[in-house]
Amino acid sequence: MIIQLEEVAGGYGDTLIHKGLSLSVEAGKVLAVIGRNGTGKTTLARLIAGELPLVSGRIRYLGSDISQLPSWERARAGIVSMPQTDMVFDALTVSENLALAGATPPGSLIERFPRIAQRMNQSAQTMSGGERKILGFVRAMVSPAKLLVLDEPSEGVQAENIDHMVSSVREACANGVACLLCEQNIGMVEALADAVIGLDSSGICYRAEGGEVSRDAMLGTLSL
């Protein structure tokens, strides 16, 4: 098991968003988290990345308790997160952004997103919203990761590039990386997820694995 959340509670200040959430992701698997706005997908991603403190519960990563570990130590240990907003360093160029990930993008990734290669010396703030998402995604993919936490990578990204994202994540999983994917795009979830959990305001309202994952059931959890 790469990561395991046990009865995790956390949120913002006095407001608890999660009040006892348990889930786990195995090596090479993708767990998708779906749910309407405000059900805590981003909060969950931030709790795992260590950007928000745990109020109670435990997070185990590769067997050890990381509940109290600061976010930079989690990142060093291989928990790579791509936040929903501010996923790139605006003032840095594309190549500087990628250099911070500590590795150069492999050819396969560049082939999928040729724009990145064309724009190496451009500063990230002059790129379009979708291009920035792609850059943030590529940076996450080249970081040495054991767990990828992707928060809405498809937002503002054209369909072809979403497909390329799907194949990139598949490739990483084939190398043993686990992935937690927070998404609203059901198509991307269908294409990628080995297991799905649906969140509503009271917690996990839907769980499905492998063949049980159905589009209708997922849409059901997203409706009011």
């Binding site: 913002y12 407001t15 779906i34 749910g35 309407r36 706005n37 405000g38 059900t39 981003t42 929903q84 907003t85 724009r115 724009r119 451009q122 500063s123 002059t126 790129m127 379009s128 919203g129 979708g130 291009e131 998402k133 792609i134 809405e152 937002e155 503002g156 990204v157 054209q158 369909a159 072809e160 590039n161 979403i162 609203q184 795009n185 059901i186 198509g187 849409l219 997203l222 409706s223 009011l224």
Partner: protein, 582 residues
């Protein structure tokens, strides 16, 4: 309102009791610290409510002090001419401050380091001049030998004049906070770019704030001359300028009572320690660090937190709902046309001769690969990015490269790609701020009633089933998840009733059901107002649901245009872009 009057009366009572309880010397000391406190209120206003940091406000304090001393000297302290002179002099300094701020802030967001550095340079120049121009200012030894105003005793009755001024400035600043003008200032600090798209000329707002800041500070400086009987170059110097900042920061720059408290508390503490403890300045410095780190809002924030723990509730202003005035007529109307529009960012050409004429009403969806120039197209229309070549026009009238805040007066409203709301304001305050846009006249910013304006366009959106913004009214917009922010920003965009609506990926990050709700809201608005609505989208289901004309952008140019069906079946389009479904 009652709370502000009550607080001001309590302050007045407290200040009136000081001479009887603590005697003449403490009263004299307090008089000085209160004058510093008023000047610190001026700094707090600029810093906390204007969002720019003035490093040279002692300039207004000192120059006003010198001017007052000279006029007292010339008129032998006569009351009426001197009161008049104080106000006129403060008004002149305020006008200068206004002009300076207009020059610095025009055409840019926030202030960068420029504003602070310019005010720093100015205060250094003035201090130097005061030291050098001996014949005028008495140079290093200071200007003295003049009577106080109306001959009031600095150890006696002058204190009451000072106390009166403190109560007036505090009352006015607290009142300002509760008025629409105060809401605009909080919006300014929270999210200046959004305020501009709501049609506010933020550089002008900041200029007025700085003028008011200078005015208050100058009033204090004038009474300082009477209180001290001497004005030295230090009164217009850099050290006092930075002390004003420290007092405002320690006491709390976001509240007029905070700055006052900071100046008085540190004043007395310094006076006490100076005589008894060699390292007193170091101690004060540590106090400053401790407060700023522990409570960025200053001592007043800690006090209000404690008071709330003890059950005190901050006063909430309730305003009866009332009908708003109509929106201002648009300056320009007609079809939006882009002709040969070129836009670059650095070396990268983003729009490369874009040609397009939009319909005057109905829907247009703009699609295209990532980086095709969709968002830049919107930015070139509203003036957020500079058009290097070509023209943007509205009904034949050019609107090329107008400043962003002018877009709404031409009937253009824009929702940004990353949902941009006033994060430090509650959801309700966000909507109140949008209700002012394109409707409020100057006088309305100083009346309470506009906070209760019920905008029909807004009510119709909020009343739709599934829109949660009414229930979330008290929540800070910064705490909203992405999708709710999208909905809030859509409301901010539509409340001023623009005739041309530019929506940049309004449903990004939303589930199919929430997307359907957004489509309903947008359609409803279009149907009721006959507006032209341009939507950037990747979700083909949404494009279809809107039954819109479709414009395909590719590499900064118009690539194709047609109905949804035509675009879907165009093999050329399929080569560059297929689009997807959620």
């Amino acid at each position: 309102m009652g709370f502000i009057v009550g607080a001001s009366l309590a302050l007045l009572g407290l200040l009136m009791a000081v001479p009887a309880v603590w005697g003449d010397f403490v009263t004299w000391q307090l008089g000085l610290f209160l004058l510093y406190g008023i000047a610190a209120q001026g700094v707090g206003l600029a810093w906390g409510r204007g969002g720019f940091l003035p490093l040279g406000n002692a300039l207004f304090f000192g120059v006003s002090g010198y001017a007052s001393a000279m006029i007292l000297h010339a008129t032998d302290g006569a009351l009426v001419p001197n009161l008049l002179a104080i106000v006129v002099c403060a008004a002149i300094l305020a006008a200068l401050a206004w002009g300076l701020a207009m020059l610095v802030f025009q055409g840019r967001l926030e202030s960068g380091p420029y504003f602070s550095l310019i005010t720093l340079a100015l205060v250094l120049i003035v201090e130097q001049l005061a030291e050098t121009a001996q014949s005028l200012t008495g140079g290093f030894n200071g200007y003295s030998g003049y009577p106080s105003i109306a001959g009031l005793d600095p150890f006696g009755n002058l204190y009451y004049l000072i106390a009166g001024l403190v109560v007036v400035t505090t009352f006015c600043l607290m009142l300002l906070e509760k008025l629409p003008a105060g809401l605009v200032l909080r919006g300014l600090v929270s999210q200046e770019a959004r305020l501009q798209t709501l049609g506010f000329a933020t550089h002008r707002v900041k200029a007025w704030v700085f003028a008011l800041s200078a005015f208050i500070t100058a009033l204090a400086g004038a009474l300082f001359a009477s209180h001290q009987g001497i004005v030295t170059p230090q009164a217009s110097g850099f050290v006092l300028s930075s002390e004003l900042l420290i007092w405002a920061a320690v006491g709390g720059r976001l509240h007029p009572l905070g700055s006052l408290l900071g100046a008085v508390a540190i004043g007395f503490l310094s006076a006490e320690l100076r005589d008894t403890y060699l390292w007193w300045e170091v101690l004060i410095a540590f106090l400053f660090l401790a407060v700023v780190i522990a409570a960025p809002g200053g001592a007043i924030e800690m006090l209000s937190y404690l008071a709330q723990k003890l059950g005190w509730r901050p006063h909430e202003l309730t305003v009866a709902p009332n009908p708003p005035p109509p929106t201002r007529p648009n300056n320009a109307a007609g079809a939006l046309t882009l002709r040969d529009v070129h836009v670059s960012a650095g070396e990268i050409r983003i729009l490369d001769g874009l040609e397009f004429t939009c319909p005057t009403q109905g829907f247009l969806c703009v699609i295209g690969p990532n980086g095709a120039g969709k968002t830049t197209m919107l930015k070139s229309i509203t003036g957020a990015m500079k058009v290097e070549r070509g023209e943007v026009s509205l009904g034949g009238q050019t609107v090329t490269n107008l400043p962003q805040y002018r877009a709404l007066s031409n009937g253009i409203g824009r929702k940004m790609q990353i949902p941009t709301v006033f994060e430090d304001l509650s959801v309700r305050e966000n909507l109140q701020l949008a209700s002012l846009a394109n409707r409020a006249r100057a006088i309305d910013y100083f009346r309470v009633a506009p906070l209760g304006w019920e905008i029909p366009e807004l009510s119709r959106l909020l009343d739709q089933p599934g829109v949660p913004l009414r229930e979330l009214g008290d929540l800070n917009a910064g705490a909203l998840p992405q999708g709710h922010r999208q909905m809030l920003e859509l409301c901010l965009t539509l409340t001023p009733a623009p005739a041309i609506v530019l929506l940049d990926e309004p449903t990004a990050g939303m589930s199919p059901e929430e997307t359907a709700l957004m489509v309903r809201l947008i359609k409803k608005y279009q149907l009721e107002t006959k507006a032209f609505v341009l939507v950037i989208e990747h979700d083909m289901a949404l494009v279809q649901a809107l039954d819109a004309r479709v414009l395909v952008l590719h590499q900064g140019r118009r690539f194709a245009e047609g109905s949804f069906g035509e675009i879907r079946s165009d093999p050329r389009v399929a080569e560059v872009y297929t689009g997807g479904n959620k």
